[in-house]
């Protein structure tokens, strides 16, 4: 009997439950897909390096899963509480008929278990299907071949999903049991009496609150968007709190003002169903200020996370091509007891071991970085220190260090290897090459005054007021903080310190390349072991990187951020969509009688549909709009923080993000609109 009642309850409130169920299914499926990555990739023929990385990825996803589970758990508890509230009258009826609280709890248990099992089953089914697609995605990312592809089901991921969601459902059951246990018949019965009071907030108060919140928000935007050099973790936290609080008050005040603004335009307000539509929206927004705020912030986090992930993913691979154009890069650096650079010689270390760089690299260039004790960063900045401190914060407290120089002939040889543009300098000129955007702007500010430098007793003037966008050391990222290019005659050999070797293997195909890489790497390590073992060489740092390795880490990093970004983004978007959809759908069924009334007045079906559409659209658009605004400034900060990692446009990444948001959030909007329309229609 109990089972029968609960089944018919579910069937009856299918419209309300549909979105809830759909969300659970999506949650389960996403949870499974990401947790099954380990099994899904086991058969893939990926290289050893990537294999290690996939292990790390699996661990990272595991950790994030806990967070995701908490978010989903909160969503489920919220949704079930919401659905239960709507059934207060039904419970009151049961109690009046003499059903015990235990029985009602058992009824709810029955329903939750049914929905839980159903959603787990359907979700896992979809998840298993989708995870096969995931295999292909992973294979594509890691350039593994799919020849040994087979249909896989991850038992551990299934177990994990069932356990996590089981716990969530258990929490829901316990919670609803407690609620039923505590509730009293009289409150249940009265809860059906909807308060029809319309609260009109004081408009002046709304305007004032709005202006204050907008100002606070503006200041937070300024902090993260422009004043980034001066931004510590504490200030970022302050900006986030300021943003969150002002978001709440903006929704609060907009809810109060929106209607008045529209009402003041008489022609608009009294056109068609507008008065009805905007009253509906206003009362909806008024009662959901807190949820709107949470949704807006979640959307903001999602947009920023996804965009940053896509920025990294989209630019990493390209960057390796751009900033690591050679196969091999090795560097040796030695410092004396005062941390001052000393002369190093890679070639000598090689020959000490009976090796030769020439054997490893077909084409290469071996060069030194020069420094002059009298040519330092603070000396170069000179009397502009104050101005820099004003604009960029902590520069003034920076330690002094020697600026790096490279001879023009070395630079041009490098450019030949890197495929860059050769440079011509007069004997009394210098130029600066840099890629790190923060430093580029500082140098260019300094270059405005054409500062003369004095190196090894030679006076040099700037070649141009612009820096050259190039680099000396190959790297995955645009992190060249500035190297001075000076005429060969301007340096003295005593200034030579760091020794760098860059070059290409002599290999014709992929196999030979891998072979050459292995040899070069082995020889370098041999030299390194020798140096590290030698007490004479204390203070020596020896470092190498190869294009293959850089490309691998680029792929790995791209994959890591993409996976985690999508995982979190998916769950957040689904949560936001679900909350809004539940609210809107229940609102529609509460207002069903109003639509019946409109029909009796002779309103066209088209206009009613239009009104439902406008209501859903504005309800979904409000938090998204503010989130987009937040994200614009959030991304300014993200771009600044990412500038160490990637350069390049974020437009494409924003497009990707917009795609994901439109797909999920927009999907929920569409579901809501269709559902609302059906609810409103069935009263005919």
């Amino acid at each position: 009997m109990l089972f029968k009642i609960s089944l018919s309850n579910i069937r009856k409130s299918l419209k309300d439950y549909a979105v809830y169920f759909f969300t659970l299914v999506v949650g389960v499926a996403v949870f499974y897909v990401f947790n099954a990555i380990e099994t899904q990739t086991a058969f893939l023929n990926v290289s050893e390096d990537h294999r290690e990385f996939i292990k790390f990825l699996v661990q990272a996803i595991s950790a994030v899963s806990l967070f995701v589970a908490i978010v989903l758990g909160l969503l489920i508890v919220y949704a079930s509480r919401f659905l239960m509230k709507r059934r207060n009258k039904e419970f009151a009826l049961y109690m009046m008929l003499g059903m015990s609280k235990w029985k009602i709890s058992a009824l709810l248990l029955c329903e939750t278990v049914m929905i839980g099992i159903g959603s787990l089953f359907v979700g896992l089914l979809i998840g298993v299907g989708l995870s096969q697609v995931m295999s292909a995605v992973v294979a594509n990312l890691f350039e593994a071949d799919m020849t040994s592809f087979k249909f896989t089901i991850s038992g551990s991921a299934i177990a994990k999903t069932i356990i996590y969601f089981g716990i969530m459902y258990a929490v829901v059951i316990i919670r609803s049991g407690i609620v039923i246990g505590k509730c009293r018949l009289i409150t249940l019965m009265q809860s059906g009496r909807r308060s029809e009071k319309i609260t009109m907030k004081n408009p002046w108060l709304c305007v004032i609150v709005f202006l204050i919140s907008a100002a606070v928000l503006g200041y937070a935007y300024y902090m993260v968007g422009w004043n980034q050099m001066d931004l510590g973790p504490r200030k970022i936290l302050a900006a986030i709190i300021m943003g969150a609080v002002s978001t709440f008050f903006i929704f609060w005040s907009v809810a109060g003002m929106l209607l008045r603004v529209i009402m003041s335009v008489k022609g608009l307000y009294h056109r068609g169903l507008n008065s009805f539509t905007f009253r509906q929206i206003s009362s909806k927004v008024n009662t959901t200020v807190a949820s709107m705020t949470v949704i807006c912030l979640m959307l903001f986090v999602t947009i920023c996370t996804l965009s940053s992930a896509f920025v990294i993913r989209n630019n990493m691979n390209r960057q390796v091509e751009e900033f690591f154009p050679v196969d091999f890069y090795g560097e040796m650096e030695k410092q004396d007891n005062d941390d001052q650079p000393m002369y190093t010689d890679i070639e000598k270390n090689y020959s000490d071991q009976g090796l030769s760089i020439e054997d490893d690299l077909g084409v290469y260039h071996n060069f030194h970085i020069y420094t002059d004790p009298g040519f330092t960063v603070l000396g170069y900045i000179g009397d502009k220190t104050d101005k820099l401190t004003d604009e960029y914060g902590s520069i003034g407290q920076m330690d002094d260090y020697r600026l790096e120089m490279i001879r023009l002939s070395d630079y041009n040889a490098l450019m030949k290897l890197y495929g860059g543009k050769a440079l011509e300098l007069n004997d009394d000129e210098y130029a600066i090459c840099a890629t790190f955007s923060g430093f580029v702007s500082i140098y260019e500010m300094l270059l405005e005054d054409n500062p003369v430098i004095n190196v090894f007793g030679n006076e040099l003037v700037p070649h141009s007021q612009k820096t050259i966008y190039s680099y000396v050391r190959p790297s995955m990222q645009p992190i060249n903080g500035g190297v001075f290019i000076v005429p060969d005659g301007a340096v003295e050999e005593s200034g030579a310190g760091v020794n760098i070797v860059v070059g290409n293997y002599s290999a014709n195909d992929k196999k030979e390349l891998a072979e050459a890489e292995k040899t070069a790497r082995g020889n370098w390590e041999k030299v390194q072991t020798n140096i590290v073992g030698d007490s004479q060489s204390s203070g020596t740092r020896i470092y190498m990187d190869t294009k293959i390795e850089a490309a691998n880490s680029a792929v790995d990093l791209g994959a890591l951020v993409t996976f985690l970004g999508l995982y979190i983004g998916f769950v957040f978007l689904v949560s936001c969509g679900a909350i809004l959809a539940l609210k809107e759908l229940s609102e529609s069924s509460d207002s069903a009688s109003r639509y019946t009334m409109l029909r009796k007045l002779g309103v066209e079906e088209k206009e009613i549909t239009g009104s439902v559409f406008t209501q859903s659209a504005i309800f979904f658009a409000l938090p998204l709009l503010l989130a987009c605004l937040h994200s614009y400034f959030g991304m300014r900060l993200a771009k600044f923080m990412l500038s160490m990692l990637v350069s390049g446009g974020i437009f494409k990444s924003m497009l990707f993000t917009a795609g994901v948001v439109v797909l999920i959030y927009g999907g929920y909007f569409l579901l809501t609109f269709i559902g609302s329309r059906a609810i409103v229609r069935e009263q005919k």
């Binding site: 029809e196 009071k197 319309i198 008489k266 022609g267 307000y269 009294h270 056109r271 068609g272 169903l273 507008n274 008065s275 009805f276 009253r279 509906q280 009362s283 109003r594 009334m597 409109l598 029909r599 009796k600 007045l601 002779g602 309103v603 066209e604 079906e605 206009e607």
Partner: protein, 254 residues
Amino acid sequence: MALLKLQNVEKYYGNKSSLTKAVDDISFTVDKGEFTAIMGASGSGKTTLLNCISTIDRVTAGHIFLEDTDITKLKGKALNRFRREKLGFIFQDFNLMDTLTAYENIALALSIQKCSAKDIDKLVKSVAEQLGITEVLNKYPYQMSGGQKQRVASARAIVTNPKLVLADEPTGALDSKSAKMLLERFGYLNHEHDATIIMVTHDSFTASYASRVLFIKDGKVFNEINRGGDSHKQFFDKIIDVVTLLGGDVSDAL
């Protein structure tokens, strides 16, 4: 001149095994400017009849003509247009939008007819004055008394200047003082503005404000009396006589 003409209207509910004839072959006409009351006991079919006239329900057989249009043949857009432009509704439970003020409730009827904002303001104010609700225009339904609500609903029904005003138990939820006030307003609208009103009621006192009363029993017209030159008291006594003749629960409702 006949404004409304019903020809052999029938409305059946249920299926072959258990058929309920809610309206059983009813024909009558209503002239322009007439104030007609339809009386009958619960279940006599009076509300079903009104629903058929108001196109909320469909007839099983027969025809209903308003002016020269057969409204039983109307569908979709034409039906909505007909309701919007030709009819005004007044319901027992007011059916006002609880989210809108009185002014907006009345204005809504005009704005869905695509009336311009300037005209809306003028029309709403003048109808509010006629019905004595000017001072409650900016109040919400929950801030008004039952009588005020029903007068707002009446204002909404007549503001569009419909051919026919249909009222379903308009005094059902009102106390006797408010009911009297409302009915006097109906009389005023009928006399001064030549409004054609059809009102369904089971209350003899309410019916006595009409100029003509139709009695319905078991889906058929049982009797019909016209006020003619009778005073209000005389007409009321006549109605009571018929009600006594009808017997049953109508008299109970007194």
